[in-house]
């Protein structure tokens, strides 16, 4: 039936839309010097993709439940990440629209790269086969390397990009190696088949363990978990701030999506997950180390941008706490992970976006000193910053509060109260450097004859802050419907 064909294509419509827009921008950019509409076009098409995915998720009957190829799934989990990735990318595009113009960096390829990287992230989040995982990962990573190096005249940007590229290639190699071993152990490349083989004990145990370790490490690298986080501070700091934003939300979200799919999916049997002998203890240790290291290192930073980079490492630790609880709680824990990723996305956009807003051509706001007294000079510009850091800190009534609440309560329910306590202690450390932002904004005066960063004026940035600020508060006041989406995604995924 032709309608079946249409509905099944509807499942990949967001992907197709992004490819079409990306190609069009490339074409147009070749012939037109006018780049004023690119940011808006990019953002709108990403939001449109998010809207389509959201609509499909709500109207489950619009699309055939089966996957349209054996490589990509069209399930609630994928759609959830579609929305998160596209929203994060779209908001980053809006930030870029203001930032690049202000700093005279606007070129067409930026938006093309952004769209294709987002496309790669979406593919990765939907991938249900080792092949599509690798392809998605590489599509996403290549775009991300280029984006980090976007300000090519800056040595730091190039340095960050090269490091990211080298280490990323290394990690990709490990992933590929692990995938090959897994295929060897199970005879399957699709995650469902691997799960059957591993669960039934038919797979060769030595190969399976080697494969699990390698895949786990390479994905931990992608989410920036300690000790595989070394690339994060350098590349986050080197990249232009909208790219940092994009990396910390969309790219990271996709990495978490594939981590959930591989660990809770392919290795979701009781033995592989076991609390003592499976991957759960590995994740627990990673979570503890990541939370501690991320927060403590963030404490020592004098650059707000670098602090936010370390804080994004710390946040990966909180998400891993939720993942660690999956062994005991299943869907509840996964939904906590999903909610956290979504809440973190909007909160982080708000914080980074505010940092973008606080500077303008000639003087970008980067360090705490740059923010000194800005809150009193420009209260309206500082307000979103306050909301953003409070949400990252996990203060009610913001999205970040419920994110932490669900994750930690999952840990408590799973009998890992000590892990939740560690998480709360780590957040308490985090309070120091997040509140330091507010202290500098409102209670410090800039040093004599220091250059003062003046907030830029941009409707794009303002729109991004308004949107993300709205969702930060919305998800903090009425988390119900977003949590429902996360729960339905987690439940359908884990069956």
């Amino acid at each position: 039936m032709i309608t079946d064909r249409i509905t099944s294509f509807l499942g990949v419509a967001p992907l197709l839309l992004l490819v079409a827009v990306g190609l069009s921008i490339m074409l147009i950019d070749a012939f037109s010097k006018d780049r004023s509409g690119l940011a808006l076009t990019t953002a709108m098409s990403l939001f449109a993709a998010a809207a389509i995915s959201g609509a499909i998720a709500v109207r489950g009957d619009l699309v055939a439940p089966a996957q349209i190829t054996r490589y990509l799934a069209v399930d609630q989990l994928g759609l959830f990440f579609d929305v998160v990735i596209c929203a994060g990318a779209g908001l980053s595009a809006l930030l870029a629209g203001g930032y690049l113009k202000e700093h005279g960096l606007e070129r067409g390829e930026f938006y093309v790269l952004l769209i294709f990287t987002a496309f790669g992230a979406m593919v990765l989040a939907r991938a249900v086969d080792l092949l599509s995982i690798f392809l998605g990962l590489e599509t996403m990573s290549l775009g991300a390397y280029a984006l980090v190096a976007y300000r090519r005249t800056s040595a730091r940007a190039v340095e960050g990009a090269v490091k990211y590229f080298l280490l990323g290639s290394f990690a990709a190699a490990i992933l590929l190696f692990g995938s090959a071993l897994l295929y060897g152990a199970t005879g399957h490349t699709d995650l469902a088949g691997i799960r059957d083989a591993v669960g039934s004990g038919a797979a060769d145990p030595v190969l399976t363990i080697l494969a699990l370790v390698m895949i786990l490490v390479s994905l931990a690298f992608k989410v920036g978990a300690v000790p595989f986080h070394m690339w994060v501070p350098d590349s986050y700091e080197g990249a232009v701030t909208p790219v940092t934003t994009f990396m910390s939300v969309a790219v990271k979200a996709a990495a978490f999506a594939v981590l959930v799919r591989v660990l809770a999916g392919a290795f979701g049997d009781e033995v592989s997950m076991d609390l003592f002998t499976g991957w759960t203890p590995v994740i627990v240790i990673l979570a503890v180390v990541t939370m501690a290291w991320g927060n403590l290192a963030a404490l020592a930073q004098s650059s707000v941008k670098r602090m936010l980079a370390y804080s994004s490492v710390a946040h990966a630790g909180y998400v891993l706490v939720g993942l660690a609880a999956t062994y005991e709680l299943g869907p509840t824990a996964v939904s906590a992970v999903l909610y956290y990723v979504a809440a973190y996305t909007v909160s982080n956009v708000l914080a980074f976006g505010s940092l973008v807003l606080m500077g303008s051509k000639g003087k970008e706001a980067v360090s705490y000193e740059d923010l000194a007294g800005a809150g009193r000079r420009h209260p309206a510009a500082a307000a979103p910053f306050v909301v953003g850091v409070l949400s990252l800190l996990g203060m009610p009534p913001t999205a970040g509060f419920f994110g932490k609440y669900y994750v930690f309560s999952a840990a408590v329910q799973a009998g890992m109260t000590w892990l939740a306590v560690l998480g709360v202690l780590a957040s308490a450390v985090g309070a120091y450097y997040y509140l330091k932002v507010i202290v500098y904004l409102f209670m410090r005066e800039p040093a004599e004859d220091a250059p003062i960063a003046v907030p830029m004026r941009s409707y794009y940035v303002a729109a991004a802050l308004l949107l993300s600020g709205y969702y930060v508060l919305r998800m903090g006041v009425t988390p119900g419907r977003y949590l429902d989406f996360a729960i339905s995604a987690a439940t359908t995924f884990l069956g």
């Binding site: 340095e159 090269v162 490091k163 080298l166 280490l167 290394f170 990690a171 490990i174 004990g201 060769d204 145990p205 030595v206 399976t208 363990i209 080697l210 370790v213 390698m214 786990l216 490490v217 931990a220 690298f221 000790p227 595989f228 070394m230 690339w231 501070p233 350098d234 009781e270 033995v271 592989s272 076991d274 003592f276 002998t277 499976g278 203890p281 590995v282 240790i285 290291w293 403590l296 290192a297 963030a298 404490l299 020592a300 930073q301 370390y310 450390v429 120091y432």
Partner: protein, 871 residues
């Protein structure tokens, strides 16, 4: 118990109207015109007064129909419920009750309160905080009415705390002045000390009675629930728990009603506006303590000790405050000490068991003291004195302020106890009560208390008449001593003027009350002739208030009346001689200067408290503050934050920017994660699957298991992937035998490892009802010949005398002896060996208790096995 009458909504409305007034004026008062604010403030109380009258009329009608214990109630809702240690559930209802006691009190509060509200309209007219003032005043009315109408201690306590709060707010009403604000704080702290006593008293009462309702407590007291000996540190055994409860409650009363030792706040409370002094610190709130004693009079009267303490405290307070009042030079200060002194009279009446008389004095005092305060306010208003007025700068005001003068004079006559004024009747009854105690009691302590009270109160009455007329003469007679001075100098306004009508009307009404209110308590006799006591008041009150019967003997009555009259005459007479038309403090010249100064400094009690109580507390606070700064802030706050920062620095130094390092870390990470899978995890647990005991080993990737169910070193199975194993155990596998004892009633349990040596059993904590003879050996157990033996060592199962000395228990089955369950149990040990895919092996063992009844074999076998098993 009173039976529940139909719901009287009026009782709720009486409270809600002032509350609504407080809310409206508090929230919107600043935006409303002043006239409306005043209207809401006065109107809400007036409505409340009218409702009180209708409710009281209904109550009166009920009494007329011959219902002796007539009550009106309104059950609002159930507030919360409480589980007592005894297991009983106590529902605490927001329930209001009007009986003859609370009915009268409600009328006083709303009636006098309404007049004072009206007075405030004029008095406060120039103040910026007008809406705030009326809001507080209305809130006070609502709280006071909750206090009066609440049918149980917790509801009353809400009002009790509410009036304390309002008192604090209103004393510190002019909070810009530091002294006034600290006077408010002093009042609040003194009251909180007392409140602590009320809470403890309340908890004792609910513990004994199981209910917070006044009616239940009083009924229980009447039935003698409280006549239990009670061990109280440091007094040893006190004769009844009522004494303890009453003394704690009385501590609360000394706070609220300004008695020794907590009276010190009341004189300072005159910092508030004068209407506040009249309403809260004279007529209503400060009498709450007397009200509480009357409310619980059946309880108080059961404890002679508590009653004596109250009588002595009241008398001492009356004397002490009266001496201070004699020397003061400011109008409101004198009236404040006079209030403390009169409250002492009331408590003395309560203490000698004449609750109705004490409460009658509350009633009459409300009129004349409110009138006196408002009169003082009128004088201050007239001469533009702020805060207080020095009587030595006044004088001769009878010409300018006729209304104020006449009402003031009438009230002075009443408080001095001139015959046929209200104060005469009430004070006379108090002295009568003290006299009666002397004649009634056989107990020498009670007689002594009676004598002390009678003499003390008579002296206090002399001084009362004296200082009141000293105040009157210096203020209203002679020449005006501030004439010709400007108002911004040291004196007052040169041209005093009479107050507006809104201030005069309350004065007139209260003055009338000061004369005529007493007739409710007029005895149906004339001295020397008739015999009919008690009065109408006494009849009305006896429905809700306990107390001794008034004496019939004319001797007693004549002694009391004679003393009262003599005291009044001496007091007024000496004031006439010393102060009429005078302008100097003549008394000060006639007594030793140092004594006079000591009394003028209020016996330096405040200074004593400062040195003995407040000083040490401040020192401790300073010390704790230092500890906080040095220990908590430095060691617990700075040090960890310093550490965290340093660790952070170290960690970010690891980020050295060299990409080789990063790659190296990545590889180390892979190896570390790999290492987590290198050795297998051995772990075994026992689980009961139906009747069989199963051993379950932890799962893992490619794990293989080998089992040794009895840990004898020989594996019963070969390597397999089965991680569940169900061995069978025989007696030869037993490792240890222990005795498990449990009390099914309390759920407490113990277990004892047994050998052939006797092991002592500590059964006392299991609540075993075994009787042991004094000095005997403890109960012991051991393994003997395959059985568990108990040796009782002379202990007898409760209620029997033939308990055998040695009892044998069958193994593996529970045996109940008396109320203790005893089960001998056996343990075995299981071992599993685990091999993972890398060929690494680990071992785990676990000792498990076999389920009861698991071993079917003979007990004899068990013991042999155990002997062998101790390898």
């Amino acid at each position: 118990m009173h039976e529940d009458a139909s719901q009287q909504l009026a009782l709720l409305l009486i409270i809600l109207f002032p509350l609504a007034g407080a809310v409206v004026n508090g929230l919107f008062g600043r935006r409303l015109p002043r006239s409306l604010v005043g209207f809401i403030g006065v109107g809400s109380v007036t409505v409340s007064f009218i409702l009180s009258i209708t409710a009281f009329a209904e109550l009166f009608a009920l009494r007329g129909e011959g219902v002796h214990e007539a009550v009106l109630t309104y059950q609002f809702y159930e507030w919360f419920s409480l589980k007592l240690p005894s297991g009983a559930e106590v529902a605490i209802n927001v329930r209001f009750l009007m009986d003859s006691l609370s009915g009268v009190m409600t009328l006083i509060v709303t009636g006098v309160g309404g007049l004072i509200h009206l007075y405030s309209v004029g008095y406060m007219s120039d103040d910026d905080g007008y809406p705030r003032f009326f809001s507080y005043l209305n809130l006070f009315m609502a709280s006071m009415l909750i206090l009066v109408l609440g049918s149980s201690l917790p509801v009353m306590f809400v009002g009790w705390e509410g009036v304390g709060l309002c008192s604090y707010l209103l004393i510190g009403y002019w909070y810009e002045n530091r002294d006034y604000a600290s006077a408010g704080r002093k009042a609040f702290v003194a009251n909180r000390v007392g409140d602590f006593g009320v809470l403890i008293g309340m908890f004792i009462l609910v513990g004994v009675v199981g209910s917070f309702e006044f009616a239940d407590i009083n009924a229980a007291a009447a039935q003698g629930y409280f006549r239990k000996d009670f061990m109280m540190w440091p007094f040893g055994v006190v004769p009844s728990i009522a004494t303890v409860a009453c003394l704690f409650l009385f501590l609360g009363c000394t706070g609220k009603s300004a008695q020794i030792p907590l009276y010190v706040w009341l004189p300072d409370a005159m910092a508030g506006p004068t209407p506040v002094s009249a309403l809260i610190h004279a007529a209503t709130m400060v009498t709450a303590g007397v009200y509480l004693c009357c409310r619980l009079s059946p309880l108080f009267i059961t404890s002679d000790v508590a009653m004596s303490v109250i009588a002595v405290t009241g008398t001492l307070t009356a004397l002490l405050a009266a001496t201070i009042a004699v020397t003061q030079r400011e109008m409101k200060k004198i009236l404040a000490y006079s209030t403390v002194s009169q409250l002492g009279f009331m408590f003395a009446a309560v203490g000698v068991g004449y609750f109705a008389a004490g409460f009658f004095h509350v009633f009459t005092h409300a009129f004349f003291k409110a009138c006196l305060f408002l009169g003082a306010g009128s004088v201050m208003h007239a001469v533009h004195a702020h805060g207080d007025a020095d009587i030595f700068k006044l004088g001769g005001l009878k010409k300018q302020l006729p209304t104020t003068r006449w009402t003031f004079l009438v009230s002075c006559l009443a408080i001095a106890g001139v015959p046929l004024t209200s104060g005469f009747f009430s004070k006379d009854e108090i002295l009568l009560g003290a006299t009666a105690q002397i004649f009634r009691s056989d107990d020498s302590l009670m007689v002594a208390v009676g004598w002390f009270t009678l003499i003390g109160l008579t002296l206090a009455a002399v001084m009362t008449a004296f200082y009141m007329f000293r105040l009157y003469f210096l203020t209203f007679t002679g020449e005006y001593r501030s004439a010709g001075e400007s108002s911004d100098g040291h004196g007052y306004d040169a041209h005093p003027h009479e107050s507006p009508a809104s201030m005069k009307i309350p004065l007139i009404f209260l003055g009338l009350g000061a004369i005529f209110a007493g007739y409710l308590g007029m005895p149906h006799i004339t001295p020397f002739v008739g015999t009919h006591l008690p009065s109408w008041w006494g009849h009305w009150m006896e429905a809700s208030v306990a107390g001794h019967a008034l004496p019939e003997s004319m001797n007693t009555i004549n002694i009391a009346s004679g003393l009262a009259l003599a005291a009044m005459a001496i007091g007024i007479g000496s004031a006439w001689v010393l102060y009429r038309n005078k302008s100097k403090d003549v008394l000060a010249e006639k007594v030793p200067a140092r004594l006079y100064a000591l009394v003028f400094d209020k016996w330096r009690v405040d200074e004593l408290y400062d040195t003995v109580i407040i000083g040490p507390i401040k020192q401790v606070a300073t010390l704790v503050g230092r500890i906080d700064m040095t220990f908590v802030d430095a060691l617990l706050t700075r040090l960890p934050s310093f550490n965290a920062r340093e660790v952070g620095r170290f960690l970010s130094r690891m980020q050295n920017g060299v990409v080789h390092t990063y790659g190296m870390v990545l590889v180390i990470g892979v190896v570390s994660v790999m290492a987590m899978f290198w050795t297998p995890r051995a772990h075994v647990e026992g689980a009961l699957e139906g009747e069989t005991l199963q051993l379950v080993a932890a799962p893992g990737f490619g794990y293989e298991y080998r089992w040794d169910g009895d840990s004898d070193g020989e594996f019963e199975s070969g390597w397999s992937t089965k991680r569940i194993y169900a061995p069978t155990y025989g007696p030869e596998d037993v490792r240890k035998i222990f005795l498990y004892v449990r009390s099914p009633r309390t759920g407490a349990s113990d277990h004892y490892s047994l050998t052939e040596q006797w092991t002592r059993l500590d059964l006392a904590r299991l609540d075993a009802a075994w009787r042991r003879t004094q000095g005997s050996l403890p109960i012991v157990a051991r393994l003997e010949d395959g059985k568990v033996q108990l040796r009782m060592n002379g202990a007898q199962v409760f209620g029997r005398t033939d308990t055998p000395d040695v009892i044998e228990l069958p193994t593996g089955r529970g045996t109940g002896i008396e109320n203790v369950l005893m089960v001998p149990r056996a343990t075995v040990e299981a071992t599993v060996e685990v091999r993972n895919a890398f060929g690494n092996v680990s071992t785990a063992s676990r000792e498990m208790t076999l389920p009861d009844g698991y071993l079917p074999e003979q007990h004899a076998l068990l013991l042999d096995a155990t002997k062998e098993g101790s390898r």
